[in-house]
């Protein structure tokens, strides 16, 4: 007797599945779980209880830039789906992706906007004051057409709804594994929902449900309800903006206007304002999206007048 049974469960060597997830669910996550052992995966636990290690996301390329790091050249970009933004990195350690990343960069810089399907690992970083930001380390990506994007939206809506449903069920149950199991929570969600409820407490899942509804109506080819953020139309917004005009005085004027509008909007708001609203405010005063984005980045990173307490949401610093 003795010995053997102490070591059990080699199953964490299994490949982690790629969760289908909207940007809003991932960017609102603030609970990282870092694997201890050499082969233990790390996770970011979402409010809905998704244990996110690997994910399959999609959206329009919203920004793309080259970054030179200590370990060599890499790329950083943003991917916008119908609910928000994903930050992603193509690291120096995945040179096999660099040729494709370079192509995306070139097209992005030409003003081309297009849909991309991306496989990646969930990453997070913590700020000194304990804030958690999420991003994605790309493992693979490709351009997709609108039809394929709609397929992704529908599947992601399904996966999100499954999590919403389980999270709702869990609220009626005792907060332990056995009760979740007998209460019909799928086994892949039990640990995550337990951790989510412990960390986030009561959550408001309506934002996720709205995301699902919007995705479903887009997949079905219906006009999205209200605020038209239909992704394919984003390229229409941007395409006519020739990058030359930003460099002249007119550009500076536009930037001043955008800055004014953004600061006004943030001043007027009690709570952080989301990225899209800021962009809309700018376009309201006649500033194109590309300029508005630059101004937001500048206000945040250079002038440090605004900050981004939660990914995609801004407030006065």
């Amino acid at each position: 007797m003795g010995g053997g049974p102490l070591i059990s469960g080699s199953s964490n060597r299994q490949r982690q599945p790629a969760l289908r997830m909207f940007a809003i669910e991932f960017s609102q996550s603030s609970l990282p779980i870092v694997g201890q052992g050499e082969f233990d995966p790390s996770f970011v636990v979402s409010r809905l209880g998704a244990m996110t290690s690997r994910m399959l996301v999609a959206g329009v390329i919203d920004n793309m830039e080259r970054r030179d790091t200590e370990s060599g050249p890499g790329y950083r970009g943003r991917l916008r789906d119908s609910t928000g933004l994903h930050m992603f990195d193509v690291t120096p350690f995945s040179p096999e992706l660099h040729a494709d990343a370079e192509e995306i960069l070139a097209r992005f810089e030409r003003g081309d906007r297009f849909l991309v399907l991306m496989l990646g690992r969930a990453r997070h970083y913590e700020t000194e004051d304990g804030g958690v930001f999420t991003s994605i380390r790309a493992e693979g990506f490709r351009e997709i057409d609108v039809n394929r994007y709609h397929v992704w939206l529908a599947r992601t809506a399904d996966a999100t709804m499954r999590r919403i449903d389980s999270h709702r069920k869990s609220r009626e149950l005792d907060n332990n594994e056995a009760s979740y199991k007998s209460g019909g929570i799928p086994s892949d969600l039990i640990t995550g929902i337990l951790k989510s409820r412990e960390h986030y407490g009561d959550i408001d899942d309506s934002v996720y449900e709205v995301a699902v509804m919007r995705a479903i109506s887009m997949s079905e080819g219906l006009a999205p309800p209200e605020e038209n953020l239909d992704v394919p139309s984003v390229s229409d917004d941007v395409a006519p903006a020739p990058s030359k005009s930003i460099e002249n005085l007119e550009g500076d004027e536009a930037r001043e206007k955008a800055k004014e509008a953004i600061m006004q909007c943030l001043n007027a708001s009690e709570s952080p304002v989301d990225y899209d609203t800021l962009i809309r405010v700018c376009s309201g005063v006649g500033v194109v999206r590309l300029t508005a984005e630059e101004v937001i980045d500048d206000l945040r990173d250079v002038q440090a007048l605004i900050q981004e307490p939660e990914f995609g949401f801004f407030e006065i610093l």
Partner: protein, 559 residues
Amino acid sequence: MTDEYDTYIEQVLTEVPDADRDAIRVEFEKYHTQFRIEPEDAVRSIMKRFQKNDSESSIQSRMDSMVTSKKVERFSELGSDDRNITIEVTVVTYTPRMQKMKSGEERQIAFGWIEDLPFSNENSTRWDYKDWSNHSSNLSPGSIVRLEGVSVNEWNGKRSLNINQSSRVVVLQEGSAANIPTSDPVDLATASSMEGPVSLVARVVASRPDQIVKKDGSGTIDIVRGRLADSSGQMSFLCWGEFNHEVGSLLRFEGANIRRFRDTPEVNFSDRTKIEVFRDASFPDADELSSQNRAKIEDIRDGMRGVDITVQVESIETRTFVRDGEERSLTSVRVLDPSGRCKMTVWSPIELEPGQVVSVQEARIRAFQGTPDITVDDAKQVTILDESPWGDIDPESHVVEISLGELRNSGSRDGIQTEGDVLVIREDCGIVLRCPECRRVLRDGVCTEHDVVEGVEDLRLRFVIDDGLSSANVVIGRAASEKFLEQDMATIQSRINDEGSSNFVKEIKDKLFGIRIQINGRAIVDDRGIMLLPDSVLEKPNDPVNLASKVRETWGVVL
């Protein structure tokens, strides 16, 4: 004195008992202040340093002390630097503690109390001890043990015993019943996912004496094999010793052990297992329980025994061979049921025809190339049924649809259909050279088994597919690959010769990344995940409108 070094000094002293405590402290201080190395990181280096010193200066005295063990009855007979002591004690407490090193490595040590004079009426003395090498299984509280090769440790005038890596702990008397690890009984379905000690309440549905022949030829061990059941399922048991309970008895087991034979859990009873008759009028009776014992093909796992199963015959192949001068026959039958398909091997002459439905009793399950097959030792175990319990199944069109998630929780099986998105296209897709003997893929013209051989060209594709809940490795052989890519091997070969294989891989990556494919074939499921070996692969076109309305239906989403 700084206490932060004490634990580490103890560790060094355990390994190098001769080393000077103060010298070790000086060393730790040096590492800490001069080299800026934390004591937990320095402990190994310092241990090595003293071991070296030790071997040069006092190897002889150590050798002496190794051979001359000191046997005592009372703690009071011990000196402060006695080593290699043998003493019998009662274990009072045992408190394990994980000690975490900065490297992330964790080491379990334990401390507690022991008392001398376990078999005497005299007043015993209590000492502290430390267990440095996880003797937990032999040091359960309440038990009486003989400690061999332990050493005295004196610190601030207080003496304790160190149980070291080289020490032996001999259990003389088990701890009282209260100390057997007891837990609430679990059902068999839960137990089957466990390993290690368990408490159960279950009914005996089969039992027969058996013998294990020791491998070294030194004799046999009498055992009892059988099967337990409850409403959640069944499990084989193995009892090392007597088992005097009839089939049908309802029993409670404490201190039983779940072990795995191949992929199948089995509960073991030893003389440390407490077995008692249990009363519960509402517990299902033996007839009811054994009627659930009919397995389906999806349930069978490598290593199962005593399986009753009903299957439909698809095709039969018989061959004869000679063993020990006797002609014998082996019949290999492709069989199916509504849950899947597999092979059945019958090791004695049998007459069967395609389309027949047969009931098999007490079969064994053995895996061949990862897929479990039904093994029948005697044709008498097989009964041909007049009527099929499921109507006729057409073998041509018979597939079982299963999602990757379901597949992961199931076993290896054949005849399935599943789907997922292609997320990884491996770089080694394309033309490979195989060993003509064993079909292993050659590396630089070398087979791991048959050395340098003339390779045979073959085409294969390797993907990872994923449906959001599970992923699977897919290895597609030549025929299915040619059909899927709509190119034959010769074409691919000549293209690879012209353009290089990385271009070929890049092209299929561009074409396939993110598409959904449907696979028909065989799945091997083990602790590394799912591997799919498709008979056919096809791209599954998806209509987003359809998908979206399905999502709305499933979850009742109202727009």
